[in-house]
Symmetry: none
Subunit: 229 residues, 3 copies
């Protein structure tokens, strides 16, 4: 396994997080894995979307592995604007997986995240409120969550940390430790067959918000970018 | 199942372990399984490497089955030089699987070892420190462990016991009970596809440190060598 | 499922068990399942072997399903001569599966018996003492158990009850409740490939001690013989 030069971790002191002093933006994560090797309150990856995230529907997919204990909450995806947690995905302290659109969240009983990679997608559509997680290409039961709601644009997406205010307020006990790869996001709901195709690594329409292969991103703190094997 | 003549167990008294009085070296374990039938502080198999184990990377694979209870620690592989436990692999008391390079170890949450054979590999590379276990061909989350470290040569590899000093200091409560087979070791990191090929019993490059088919080994105490079925 | 005429249960009072007053012997269980519908101390099936059971090796296979709770001991197979439990197979109170050759037994951690049929084989060879269970065609870890021992002939095989003396002393709390089918027994150790073939329902050499298709048997108490579906 060869390690990208970008793995030379840029340590940013937690106290220096406001304002952010990121490593300069890089592009392209095709065949790469992000490794968050240990618990910190300063390691994260900021993702720069290809278009503004004013969303009334989306599909978010990633492959994720973690060794964190079951009873530890874990931030899996955080999109925040100045005043709101616009779209957060968590593994909760009780093991459930949840997502939040600025306010109370909705909770799903999914198979546990483990040391082996889980393929995880989330779909939501404002019109009906239908929300579901997809694990290894299999859909959870639908829940109806915030029909009519809109996600606001002009925020920041972070992997690895949950900012309690815009670009700050990070907590080690919520941080992600483990591996993430192949994160993609679309501004519409993918069909079952498309999600299964993505799960099996087949060709699917490129994410028009995030496309792992051409992703623009900024590494902060101690995150490694390594070749997938 | 026909039993090799080498199964006539050579009982070495525990007190006589320093210096070792092994059975004479034998060669070749192709299609054979090592059975450690019960808990002892005197049964082990010493493995003679094909080349010195001065290592800055390795892949270690084996198939292993045990009925020992979950809360019992178990030594799975021990390579020790005069002053150091150079490379030890354990199933810990809390069920995690760990490995140690002369000092504190690193711990992985893996599916439990059972009465059925588990295919288990471990990869580590000094340059990056990336370490992972592979269970049935599936990689665990990477951990970053001792980047820059080197494993020292001129030690002894034991299966079945953990020597607390070079060639001595064995403890029954740490001993291995169960079956081991198909142990191979390479001085580099095998690719995912190679590890999966090994898991499925397909042809892979022979281990250049240990190759089960041509393994040179010494039986001590009560260890059986039987035909695999 | 159509019910065989032989299902008209012959109720034998527990107190009348010595001497046995069985229904007359019947033959052939091909495509049939034995159902032990509830807990009794009087329902059992006696199996008449094709040859005397003076054994220095054997393979015993059956398909078995039960809803009995984990902490309840269950007799799975009992072969008893006048003075000895020659060959008993149990699911123990602690969930382990065990077998006994006239004296202390040996215990295996296997996946639990469930409401779904488990394909279960047991192999033992006197020469080496190697004993193993096979679950769904997968072998457990070998245990070394009573090498050199011989099983005595001229006893009785019961399914459903454990006789504490020859042909008597039955206990409801040890009885089998559930389904058994496809029991076969050979006086030698079948190879892995043969056991897997049996598991998958492929053609294997007929059991030379018990062959389900041509089995001679006597029903006692409340046992149903129904078509397998």
């Amino acid at each position: 396994m060869s390690v990208n030069t970008s793995m030379i971790a840029v340590i940013v002191l937690g106290v220096a997080l406001l304002p952010l002093t990121p490593s300069s933006a890089m592009q392209g994560l095709g065949e790469k894995v992000l490794i968050f090797p240990y618990e910190t309150d300063f390691s994260f990856v900021a993702l720069i979307p290809q278009k503004e995230m004013a969303l009334r529907a989306f599909t978010l997919c990633m492959r994720v592995a973690t060794e964190l204990p079951e009873e530890r909450e874990i931030i899996l995806f955080a999109y925040r604007t100045a005043d709101y947690d616009e779209l957060n995905v968590w593994r909760e302290r009780d093991g459930r997986v949840s997502f939040y659109l600025s306010g109370d969240g909705t909770f799903f009983h999914l198979p546990p995240l483990t040391t082996f990679r889980t393929s995880l997608c989330l779909t939501w559509e404002s019109r009906t409120g239908l929300a579901a997680f997809w694990v290894e290409g299999k859909r959870s039961t639908y829940q109806v969550y915030k029909p009519g709601h809109s996600i606001r644009p002009k925020g920041t997406v972070l992997l690895g940390q949950d900012p309690d205010k815009h670009l700050g307020g990070l907590e080690a006990q919520q941080s992600f430790v483990g591996e993430m790869t192949d994160l993609n996001m679309w501004d519409f709901v993918l069909s079952r067959s498309m999600i299964q195709a993505w799960h099996y690594g087949h060709k699917v329409p490129k994410g028009n918000i995030f496309d792992w292969a051409t992703m623009e991103y900024e590494l902060n703190g101690n995150v490694m970018v390594v070749d997938d094997d």
